[in-house]
Symmetry: D2
Subunit: 345 residues, 4 copies
Amino acid sequence: MTLRIGVIGTGAIGKEHIRRITNNLSGGKVVAVTDIEEASAKSAIEQFGLDAGIYPDDKTLIAEGDVDAVLVTSWGPEHEESVIAAIEAGKYVFCEKPLATTIEGCMRIVEAEMKLGKQLVQVGFMRRYDSGYLQLKEAIDNKFIGEPLLLHCAHRNPEVDTTYSTDMAITDTLIHEIDVLHWLVNDDYKSVQVIFPKKTRYAHEELRDPQFVILETKSGIVINVEISVNCKYGYDIQCEVVGEEGIAKLPEVPSITFRKNGRIGSHILMDWKERFMDAYDAELQDFIDAIRKTGEPNGPTAWDGYIAQVTAEACLKAQNSGKKEAVVFLEQPDFYKKNLKPANV
Amino acid sequence: MTLRIGVIGTGAIGKEHIRRITNNLSGGKVVAVTDIEEASAKSAIEQFGLDAGIYPDDKTLIAEGDVDAVLVTSWGPEHEESVIAAIEAGKYVFCEKPLATTIEGCMRIVEAEMKLGKQLVQVGFMRRYDSGYLQLKEAIDNKFIGEPLLLHCAHRNPEVDTTYSTDMAITDTLIHEIDVLHWLVNDDYKSVQVIFPKKTRYAHEELRDPQFVILETKSGIVINVEISVNCKYGYDIQCEVVGEEGIAKLPEVPSITFRKNGRIGSHILMDWKERFMDAYDAELQDFIDAIRKTGEPNGPTAWDGYIAQVTAEACLKAQNSGKKEAVVFLEQPDFYKKNLKPANV
Amino acid sequence: MTLRIGVIGTGAIGKEHIRRITNNLSGGKVVAVTDIEEASAKSAIEQFGLDAGIYPDDKTLIAEGDVDAVLVTSWGPEHEESVIAAIEAGKYVFCEKPLATTIEGCMRIVEAEMKLGKQLVQVGFMRRYDSGYLQLKEAIDNKFIGEPLLLHCAHRNPEVDTTYSTDMAITDTLIHEIDVLHWLVNDDYKSVQVIFPKKTRYAHEELRDPQFVILETKSGIVINVEISVNCKYGYDIQCEVVGEEGIAKLPEVPSITFRKNGRIGSHILMDWKERFMDAYDAELQDFIDAIRKTGEPNGPTAWDGYIAQVTAEACLKAQNSGKKEAVVFLEQPDFYKKNLKPANV
Amino acid sequence: MTLRIGVIGTGAIGKEHIRRITNNLSGGKVVAVTDIEEASAKSAIEQFGLDAGIYPDDKTLIAEGDVDAVLVTSWGPEHEESVIAAIEAGKYVFCEKPLATTIEGCMRIVEAEMKLGKQLVQVGFMRRYDSGYLQLKEAIDNKFIGEPLLLHCAHRNPEVDTTYSTDMAITDTLIHEIDVLHWLVNDDYKSVQVIFPKKTRYAHEELRDPQFVILETKSGIVINVEISVNCKYGYDIQCEVVGEEGIAKLPEVPSITFRKNGRIGSHILMDWKERFMDAYDAELQDFIDAIRKTGEPNGPTAWDGYIAQVTAEACLKAQNSGKKEAVVFLEQPDFYKKNLKPANV
């Protein structure tokens, strides 16, 4: 049975996912679209030759009987309402990050899902589907490098414009490390500290860049993440796990190596969209496959969305205080205590 | 419009392609299968939950009105007859290598296609869809390393069993280099020489292994290929292009790097099937996409199948003579002189 | 003129330097030795076939007219007294770290040297002579990567025994980073923080291992150093400098690369002595050459010894307090404000 | 006892060795120099502040009682006469390549040495002292990669001027591979073939460049060497040994790695003199040490000089014939059958 999907928000990310479902993936079909700008919804239908209806808003799209699942790719502050509406209608939801823009909003979603008694929501944290992180996780879970003790990470962008603010280094950039790293080491965050090093001359006047974040987990793992959003040289994601028996590190993005002009070298991506292209495909294919095969999504849950939001807010507090701040979670409900593993791995 | 596909031969490779079309790719659907062992055809339908008919033989499957395109994944000596039947019926054909087991057989296919006046055939040379080779080709075509002068290549398998014979190093192993390398450097082969180095103790009694092949092109490029099919350490494909301005080389397969026990290292694949997994997906997706969008396949043509067969036979002659042997092609018909580029690149 | 050298302390390090001067380097000759154990001094003479006198103590050795320079390779707490005696006698001194075991001791040496009005002392911080660090420094000084903003460093040993204590991670291990990193970025330390991650099961009961140290410089550069002295896998020194325009990183120790058993890999040193073997040669050759050519040593000065001691003590304080601690230096005397560069680079 | 050395030929290479002995190495002293241009000999004395006499010619220098050993760094065609004179005088000889410019000349030296009954001669094949090749040899000798089957090698120079001719690719360039590779695999050459690929546009009119040489050994190892003397991008020496159990490869020259402008890269040497700087030091230190300790040099012998000359002449023949040419040696005299190993390894 093909999974019939409605898309809420046909901006850049929404269109990317529509293209993916229509041209690359198997088992899904976009049957409904809505956007606050109707022209955008229309252009999506034309661009990809969709056989899909246009709906005036998220509620009517969700209510449509032909829609099995919705993709929430609207503006962040709108996510919560759409996700809760979908849950209440018993529809599956794939929601881009953030799940909600507040801790309370995330908890309302968690509670709605628990009330229904069935997991319907997957959050768009695609890194868990990246082959590099999956290899790292396998090495950790197999004890190939022993117990993790330290993680050295970096998240670097070539540049940002003046709309990018100091807090977005947490909410838009670090948020991916926040999700993937605790999953990677099977642990929870306990505290966070943010240090502002010497500012690069490429950062705009209002922006602190780079930033250096130190997260500690309950078991004592120390995770440091360099965030540099004007590093100039490329889009570069680094993650090195220091374990008791050895070290494992993310692979570089595969590139031909060349020898030229006194250099041996290879290419670094400049465009972030290419880095996790395969992971975006994999997360959505897994969402479709898991629902079709098991009736339940298999990826990052609403609870993971909550975890990310709580941690991000502690980081924002640490940016302002200059001190180590505690990260405090509610106790994880049994409802979410399952062993999550992407089906296609 | 979904491309309706009939599969002729449901052995290991046939099933792999069925899985691919059914679970991973977009726009195609397996609607018909046939195999000399009916049980195999049945098991394919069950394994992948196909809504497909079983046909007694290739002819009846090809004749089926619901079939738009056929996949020829039967035993090599059967390929020619199925391909010609499909061409005569005006059906698209994706044929695994070899296109035919003789030069004459390849030419009969070429002639059938020219007689029809439309290209229908794509040969399963998947390396042209590998991202590494595509990066190499881009570097060459953009003159990033200047004119190619020499290519240093290796094709290594961990081991083979006693059914693998000295000539299979050409027809089953080198055949992929034969196809991809002339495409890579936009040139034709002129001569070939095969040298047998000291034999590895892991080769069975009848087998010459390793082998060292030197191909020269019309413009004078010297290509050497080491073939080692009992190299023990892994499945490893190397290609380094020495140009006038610099050198470009295939990337290694991405792997986490680790530091452990006095070593810094990463993993090498042991299983050849993983190496070109993405390329297999891409070639078949391109076959489906190109037909749906342009009415014509876009990949390696029947003429490329002929080129490969002529070159392979010259290599076999060189294995026996120990001398440099000429590679002689008929003149390329205008019909096949188009600029081939995978649509999805 | 050959530089006539007296060696104070003929233990393991003393003998290493004697071997170096006698068998590898040019322009120096060991003419006098002393050790608290006379048998050790005798065995040094025999082992290297020295034409050298044995002296009862450092004072008499220093007083010997035939001695131009002394090597202080005795037990750390004895260094200060020997160095000051040598300065007062107007003899050149190459002193292994630490210059003195207290800040006050270092300052007494600095003052003795300033009183004499001539630099005689070189401290054995050999990393400044390592070709990798020299390449890094050149990249920084040439603005190849722009202004340094962050440094990610690691100092890893395979294992230590139970005599190694938590404070030795600073005084014996980090001390080399303390010296080389401020030299590398041409800046002074301002504060330091020490974090204790989850302890490796390979650390003995009394030992905190690993440790994570964060040093900030006056201009705001954030330097983090992982210290792992039971990392098991090898002796490994890492240093990556993140600049405004790009990143530069120490090379790995050169090793053949091999492909074997499903791995591509190379060797990591297990023995720390091999890592800086060439740097040890270079620092001592430079000491000999600079004195012979210019009448003054050219390497790390007594002031550098003071800087290291002050910083190390702040790190010890930070280990105990768990807080960020200030690093406070006296103002650098003009006497020591010269541009230090190894002569042989 | 210091080894007293006379230098015959104070051109660029002669001066390099004088600098080395005087400023870097231990145990040797240049006491005598001669050159066909007396001004050159004088300038060498001044430049390095030597306490050495100037002699009118090689014979008088060799006859000088204070001279223990001579360095032959004159013009190639003069080597033979100087070497034989030194042997007849019972003086040690370090002779730069070529030992003699003809096979017969090499044999006259071999016979002179055998007549004397003592090995005095070391030929300046420095690669055997390179740490990379030594690591490779250790891997081979320890059976780490099993029996060698194939070697893939390259010798690349950024550019040559018009005085460099096609035959010099053998006599000046390949000659180093000729010496080091048979030593590496403990085997003798049996045949050689030279292929001329497409010519690079950077080669001058009279020059064939690149060249591709295939050497086969008695046991059947196939060695291929790409010679590119106008490769533009750098000076680059590659050697990869394919064995029955795995592969081992020379390390790249250590360089900082950087990330900048969309590239990850490191430096390649442009100047050949830097590549084997440490090996030049080591070969001469070993010559000095071995004579001082054992009374006999320890490096490449006169017989190795003969081996190189015979092989080079077969390569020249193969350049002209375009065919596989036999490499035929006289039987190795027992006099030269010792296990050669650098003393310092």
